[in-house]
Amino acid sequence: MTNARPLDLDALESTAERVLRAATSTAELAEAETAALGKRSELAGAHRTLGALDESERRRVGRELHELRERMESLAAALRLELQAKERSAALEADRLDLSEVVVADLRSPIVRGRTHPVTQSRDALEDVFVAMGFKVAEGPEAETDWYNFEALNMPPSHPARGMYDSFFLELGEPETIVLRTHTSPVQIRLMEAAVAAGTLPIHAVAPGRCFRRDTADASHLPVFHQVEGLVVDRKITFGDLAGTIEAFTTAYFGPEVHSRLRPSYFPFTEPSAEYDITCTICLGAGCRTCSNTGWLELGGCGMVDPAVFMACGIDPAEWSGFAFGFGIDRCAQMRHQIPDMRALVENDLRFLAQF
């Protein structure tokens, strides 16, 4: 039994605490931690004296020392958070800049020019073509109700044709009542309802915008994509007018060597309905791999507005007739610039974007 000087744990603790609390920065705190808790600290020294105690005493004091160390370590952690916050706000404060008094003339002006996105460029170019043909440009929301996206377009709930549009539904309201629009066709309904309410028929409009379908992204599909919708409601509008309009914008957008053809198809909101193809932009109709040797590429769908759609919007199909069409803007960009993989459009790599 050795006569060791009894440990004054209270004194030990208050010294350590004083050392830690004295730190005014995270750097000082790090030093203080070394001083108060490190290998050469009094605390560490106290640990080393334990060996001289008898077993029960050693256990008791050892436990107390251990608890003391834990208290000091959590104090240090708390102090570090405080000091970090203080240092961050001091740094931010030192950084302060009143943005209402920036002397703009002092700044260099850029000597490089950026680029708009290829999809924007295609959208603008298509809008310009249609504006020159007498179309106004309309828009609609990206999240739609079931009514606009489906029901008013002659697709009541459970209609099998809804299967053509694999939809994203939102967690709002009753299940499956609010949908990210699967096509730009709901803008047709909005245009017709608005024109009926305001008494402003006829309608000659195109509606470009973003659409959403649960399609896995691949070289020619993106789950988020852009379409442009066209709608003409007027007197004496014919299927021949539709075919002529499609030919006119095809040639205007893709060039005089590219033409269009219509094939019978089915959409619940048009009757007669058609899909339209354009001359393959790669081989100009000679036949190649891209067009599976047909000389044609599929571009979009179209048709005469179905009487059921007119009636849903309160328009008398005996007095008015009209046509509608829709196609992908991204796909136009892809064809025009021969982009091998559509996913490049959302990669946002400047080496790609700088080429447009």
């Binding site: 002397v103 020159a132 459970s158 009542t177 649960r214």
Partner: protein
């Protein structure tokens, strides 16, 4: 749908080259996705008799086979084991090129020379079975040396892969395709009448039929066939099914499938002796009722689904005792499946209400060949031909079959026959054509629409019962016009570009959006397209804390929510480019971000079934966001960018103001950020990205940020524009006055400038802030703002006295209104 040309020729003498037929089908709206030639390359394959089978030493996967193929015995090495001595099998002699393009050569394996190859059905493209050889024993006419095409009666065939549109259930079968094509080619079309002589007892003595839910199943028919010998189908039938993409199972199931492919009417054969009570009962499913379907899956019926329109009203087929044995029009149950022991078949053929089938199919996520046809609409009066044809086909392979006399036929309300009055003028008005009435009749007649002249230029058109897509008037006229256009040829309709008096154009907001983009591009920024659908925590990383709107059925967890900001997307785009050593960049995006629904964007005013019981659309804001990450970019550059856009749009009176006390701007540097205000209305924010946020995205250095709400910006009532009128340029020299004004920090520089501008009056040409000073010589909390004032008069050179007076007026106004002190 896979359509063998030979099958079409059962109904019409269709000739012509394949390319021409493809073009005709495409032009009819029967889009050909692919063409496959089958039976080609079988010319050299012969039947061989197996003389000897022996093991090869050291090989357990191949054997030595000696065959007689009509000449000297041939030694062949073969890896199949499903045959034995005496069997007849197909042999591809040396030099043959198989349908897949593989050329057979003479090869030696383990010391045994193989003089050809014995083939499986798959290798010959005759069936899907690749597990063993195609054993031909028992085939009439098969013998050593006989060409296999002769032994099996194979004609080279062409299979068209045709997509039939959803509104053409009539064309979703061989007969339907043949009808359209024959009309286009101008050749006669006919459906052979099946002939069966019923020899069994009256059907009523064998089974019963009842319908408790006629609104779901308006027609149910039951026939019974006895003394059936269940076995394989005749090769010709099996081969056609295979070419059409269906696997042959047994003669009963095959006959049912064959009839469906040929005529478009699904039927369902039950083993009559395995029904709890002989007969069928059709009723609504009770909630929670279960059935194990043929695929072994237990399905729960009669419960509403989660989705729109999934009411849980399911139609079930029961045996006469009421036990469920099938989901009506969709899938049969396992308990009454046809087996090799079956001798008596109950054949169900029904017409189901399309919406009932569509609803249950959607609720159960269960789509079958039958449900796909019923939900489009089958021909309620095509049932009788279909069941006759079934009996006829089954008799081919089970000659002893006794067909019970009569059909149990339960009918509810079926669609009345439609007769449409078709005015030639209406067709021409809709199509832009100049067709004669007789031409229209000539186009519609061959595809099954009987046309009777009613008056000059008017036809009475009988709509056949297999055309549910043609609706009653007034819609039906458009439907008939489509048939006229389709059979006439879309390409023959003259094109005409319509014109109208109203001018086209962009709205002011659309023009503004383009100018914003132009301005940003002029600032050296490149437009990107970042995701609208993001991970749940994505926006929180840039300080947007409100919960995002969730997608109920996302494709992936990290695309399960609607974005509320473009900041995270732009930071990611920047990070991606920095990773690829393109660091000094400016990026922008124009697009929609989503927020909580607000009442007013109502969905309820036009409800329909899908209208939305008290739900509102999310708010959508179109933002233009600019991330400035070029060398030297910071918050000040963001201010300059705002200036440039403001100048481009002629915006007047925008204010840049620090964030409100305690309300940091999401993701932005707390002391280097500001709100952009027009009056009291927030138009956007700008500043620097919070260094902690940038660090979180792994990006170093200062990043400038500018975000504008284009919807608000477009509203001139909220954000006024500068006067568009020009002021004449003075020919007289101007005078500059520099004023250094000491003002308290809270007083914004732009307000001081406005006061100076007002005080300077007409003669003040411009006010420009050119220096800001804080530090020694000034009290803390105050700074010196140095403005250059340029004065000029349109008609004279200003005198020093005049300029001095203007200067004094400006200083005095700044002192009085802003507490400014001249330094």
């Amino acid at each position: 749908m896979r359509v063998p040309l030979s099958w079409l020729r059962d109904f019409a003498p269709i000739d012509g080259d394949v390319d021409g037929l493809v073009a005709s089908l495409d032009d009819l709206g029967l889009m050909v996705e692919g063409v496959e030639r089958v039976g080609d390359g079988l010319g050299d394959i012969v039947v061989a008799r197996v003389l000897e089978v022996a093991a090869i030493e050291g090989a357990d996967r191949i054997r030595r086979v000696v065959v007689d193929a009509g000449g000297d015995p041939l030694e062949i090495v073969c890896g199949a084991f499903n045959f034995g001595q005496g069997d007849l099998v197909p042999l591809a002699p040396v030099g043959t090129v198989l349908p897949g393009g593989m050329e057979i050569g003479r090869r030696t394996m383990r010391g045994v020379t193989s003089n050809g190859m014995l083939c499986s059905g798959r290798e010959l493209a005759l069936s899907d079975d690749g597990a063993g050889l195609l054993v031909l024993s028992g085939v009439d006419g098969a013998g050593p040396g006989v060409p296999i095409v002769d032994a099996l009666g194979i004609e080279p065939d062409v299979v068209f892969d045709i997509t039939v549109e959803g509104n053409r259930p009539d064309a979703w079968c061989m007969a339907g395709i043949a009808r359209d094509l024959a009309a286009r080619l101008g050749v006669p079309f006919s459906l052979p009448e099946p002939g069966v002589t019923p020899a069994g007892p009256p059907v009523e003595t064998l089974a019963s039929a009842a319908v408790e839910a006629p609104e779901m199943c308006p027609r149910l028919t039951v026939r019974v066939l006895e003394a059936i010998d269940v076995g394989p189908s005749p090769p010709a039938i099996a081969r056609r099914l295979t070419m059409a993409g269906m696997r042959p199972i047994n003669n009963v199931v095959d006959a049912s499938n064959y009839v469906m492919l040929e005529l478009g009417q699904p039927t369902h054969p039950y083993d009559l002796d395995r029904l709890g009570a002989p007969g069928l009962l059709v009723r609504r499913a009770r909630p929670g009722e279960t059935l194990t379907t043929l695929d072994g899956v237990e399905r729960t019926l009669g419960n509403p689904g989660r989705g729109l329109g999934e009411t849980g009203e399911d139609c079930v087929i029961c045996d006469a005792g009421g036990t469920v044995i099938g989901i009506g029009g969709i899938f049969g149950g396992a308990s009454s499946e046809i087996s090799s022991e079956t001798t008596r078949v109950l054949l169900e053929a029904a017409y189901f209400e399309p919406m009932v089938i569509a609803r249950t199919s959607k609720t159960l996520r269960l789509r079958t060949e039958a449900s796909a046809r019923f939900e489009r609409g089958c021909d309620p009066f095509g049932i009788d031909r279909a069941t006759e044809r079934f009996c006829e086909l089954l008799a081919l392979s089970s000659p002893g079959t006794r067909v019970a006399q009569g059909t149990l036929d339960v009918r509810g309300a079926l669609r009345d026959p439609i007769v449409l009055t078709l005015r030639t003028e209406a067709v021409n008005d809709l199509l832009g054509t100049a067709l004669e009435t007789e031409e229209i009749a000539g186009l519609l007649g061959p595809i099954g629409f009987r046309c009777t002249p009613e008056a000059p230029g008017v036809l009475a058109v009988d709509v056949p019962s297999n055309r549910p897509d043609v609706r009653p008037a007034p819609h039906g006229v458009a439907d008939l016009a489509e048939e006229v256009a389709r059979t006439y040829g879309y390409s023959r309709i003259a094109r005409h570009q319509p014109t109208w008096a109203e001018p086209g154009g962009l709205t002011e907001a659309q023009r503004m959006r383009r100018r914003v983009r132009e301005a940003l591009v002029g600032l050296g920024a490149t437009e990107v397209w970042t995701p609208s659908l993001v991970d749940a925590g994505e926006d929180a990383r840039v300080g947007v804390t409100a919960a995002p709107i969730a997608i109920a059925n996302p494709m992936a967890q990290d695309q399960g929510w609607l974005r509320r900001t473009q900041m995270a997307g732009l930071l990611r785009a920047l990070g991606r480019n920095r990773d690829r050593r393109q660091g000094s960049v400016r990026l922008f995006e124009v697009g929609v971000v989503f927020g909580e629904p607000t009442p007013g964007r109502s969905t309820a005013e036009r409800s329909g079934a899908g209208g939305a019981q008290g739900a509102y659309l999310p708010t959508e804001r179109e933002l233009a966001s600019l991330l400035l990450a070029a060398e030297g970019d910071d918050a000040r550059v963001a201010v300059a960018a705002l200036d440039a856009i403001g100048a481009e749009l002629r915006l007047a009176g925008l204010r840049v103001r620090p964030p409100e006390e305690g309300a940091a701007l999401g993701g932005l540097h707390p002391t280097r950020s500001a709100r952009i205000l027009s009056g009291a209305v927030p138009v956007g924010v700008l500043g620097e990205i919070d260094p902690e946020v940038a660090e979180d995205f792994g990006i170093e250095g200062r990043l400038g940020w500018l975000e504008l709400d284009l919807g608000i910006l477009a509203d001139r009532a909220v954000v006024p524009r500068r006067d568009e009128r020009t002021r004449p340029i003075s020919r007289f020299p101007s005078s500059d006055i520099d004023l250094a004004l000491v003002v308290a920090d809270p007083v914004p520089a732009d307000e001081v400038a406005d006061v100076l501008g007002a005080a300077g009056g007409e003669l003040l040409e411009s006010v420009t802030l050119f220096d800001v000073y804080r530090g020694p010589g000034l009290e803390p909390g105050r700074r010196s703002l140095a403005f250059r004032l340029r004065f000029c008069a349109p008609d004279r050179t200003l005198t020093d006295r005049e300029v001095g007076a203007l200067r004094a007026a400006c200083v005095e106004a700044a002192q009085r209104q802003m507490g400014a002190v001249l330094r």
